[in-house]
Symmetry: C2
Subunit: 240 residues, 2 copies
C-alpha cells in the first residue's frame, strides 16, 4: 500500500521535542484526523496542496531520502499530518531499520498502530484546549499502556502551550502519565509573520514567560520546557 | 569532607546538552584543573570570587536547595569548575537520590571518580583545540570504558565548537567513541556582550553556520547540534 507523502527534505536538525537538535531527514505524510486552530502544517490536510501529494512506495521514499541526504544521515523523522493514520508506515520503518537508520515519529495519539512499538523516538502530542480538539483519553491510555509493555525504543509526551488552560491540560496529562517524559513546547501564534528576527525575539519572550510559569509549579517538576529551534533559525519557512 | 560551592540557584531550565530544557536546580562547585581560553565561568577558578566560595556539607547544600526551590524541582545539576575533582561529591549524590531527585553532572573527563557511575545524566565535555587545553585520551578512554561497564544512568559527550579545528576534534571524538551520544554546541565567543538581543541574533547566526557544516558531514551523522538556550534567554547573565 502506497504512502501519501507531501514532502521529503533534509538533512537538517530536528527543532523540537525529545530529539531536539538531532541531525535528521524528514518525511511528511498528508492527511490528518484533527484540524487544530493553530496548526503550523495546515497544508497537509486543508486541501490547498492536494496536487503536491505523491503516493509513494516505502522503497521509493527510501530512494528519495538517499538522493537528498546521500550518506550524511543516520536518522529519519516521520511527521505529518498524522502518520498514525497509516498502517502502511510499518513497511517504511522496516526498510529504514534495514538501512541502519533510526526512526522518530510524531502523532497526536488519536489512533493506535501496532508499528508504534518499533519507533525509536516516538512523540505523542495530545492537543490542548486552544487547539479546539478533544482528547480521547481511552485511546491515549490504551496507546501508552501498550507501549509500556512492548516498545523497543523511547516514548515521550509533548504538549504545546498557548495559554493558561493549556498549562492546566499539561498538568493533567503529567499526573495521568507520570512515568512518561513530558515536554512542554511554546506555541507559535504568529505562523504568518515573515520578519524572522522579530519572530525570534517574540518567541523568546513567550518562551521565557512559559518557563516562569513552569518554574513555580509543584506539579510540573519533572518536565522539559523547549522552544522550536527551527523557528528561531528559519522563521515560518518550510522545508528546512 | 566539605564541598567548595560558589553558587546554588534555581529552579531554572538546563540550557544545553543532553537534558536541554529540563527544569533543574544548579549547584556550582569552585575549582578547575583547566583554564579554557573561552571559559564562561572563569569566576569558578580565576580567584576573582574566592571570597564567595562556601565550604558546605552535602546536607547543608540539600537544605539550601530546599530553601531556594522548595518542592518545585525533581532534578539537580552539579556544575563547575570541574566537580570531577571532588571525591566528596559522592555523599551529595546519595543525599539527592535519597530525596528522590535525579542528578546531572558535567565534567571535562580529565579525572575519574567512582561516583560517576551513580550520575543519572552525565556529560563528558572534552575541550577542543580552541580552548588551549590538551585532552588526555588515556584518562578519557578509561572513564568511558568504566561507565560502559557500570553506569546506572545515561552518559553523553559534548564538544563546544568555535572553529574548523574544533569540528575536526569533534569528528575524532565521535570516531573514537561511536557508541556514546555526541552533542555539538555552538561556542559563545562574546561572553562580555551585554546587549542581549544582539547577542541572541549573533549566536543564532553562529548556530546556523555550525548546522550547515555538520549537515554535509558523512562522519558526523548521529549527532545533535544545539545552542545554549540560556544565552538566548538571559544573555551573559549569571544565576539564571
Amino acid at each position: 500500500m502506497k504512502i501519501p507523502v507531501i514532502e521529503v527534505f533534509g538533512p537538517t536538525i530536528q527543532g523540537e521535542g525529545m530529539v531536539i537538535g538531532r541531525k535528521t531527514m524528514f518525511v511528511r505524510t498528508a492527511g490528518c484526523d484533527y484540524s487544530c486552530s493553530w496548526c503550523d502544517s495546515k497544508f497537509t490536510w486543508d486541501g490547498t496542496e492536494k496536487h503536491h501529494i505523491q503516493m509513494m512506495e516505502a522503497e521509493e521514499i527510501m530512494q528519495d531520502l538517499r538522493e537528498k541526504g546521500a550518506d550524511q544521515f543516520g536518522h529519519v523523522t516521520i511527521s505529518g499530518g498524522n502518520p498514525g493514520l497509516l498502517p502502511q508506515i510499518d513497511q517504511l520503518i522496516d526498510i529504514l531499520h534495514d538501512h541502519d537508520l533510526e526512526v522518530a515519529l510524531e502523532t497526536q495519539g488519536s489512533r493506535w498502530q501496532t508499528w508504534f512499538t518499533k519507533i525509536d523516538d516516538l512523540t505523542l502530542s495530545p492537543k490542548p484546549p486552544s487547539s479546539g480538539m478533544k482528547t480521547n483519553y481511552q485511546t491515549l491510555d490504551f496507546i501508552i499502556d501498550s507501549l509500556k509493555q512492548k516498545q523497543r525504543g523511547k516514548c515521550s509526551l509533548k504538549v504545546v502551550i498557548f495559554n493558561e488552560d493549556d498549562l492546566g491540560y499539561a498538568e493533567n496529562i503529567h499526573q495521568r502519565y507520570p512515568d512518561v517524559s513530558l515536554y512542554l513546547q511554546v506555541g507559535n501564534d504568529e505562523i504568518t509573520m515573515d520578519n524572522d528576527q522579530a519572530l525570534s525575539l517574540y518567541l523568546l519572550q513567550k518562551y521565557e514567560e512559559l518557563i516562569d510559569q513552569v518554574m513555580v509549579s509543584t506539579i510540573l517538576k519533572d518536565v522539559r520546557v523547549l522552544p522550536q529551534l527551527h523557528t528561531f533559525l528559519w522563521g515560518n519557512k518550510r522545508g528546512v
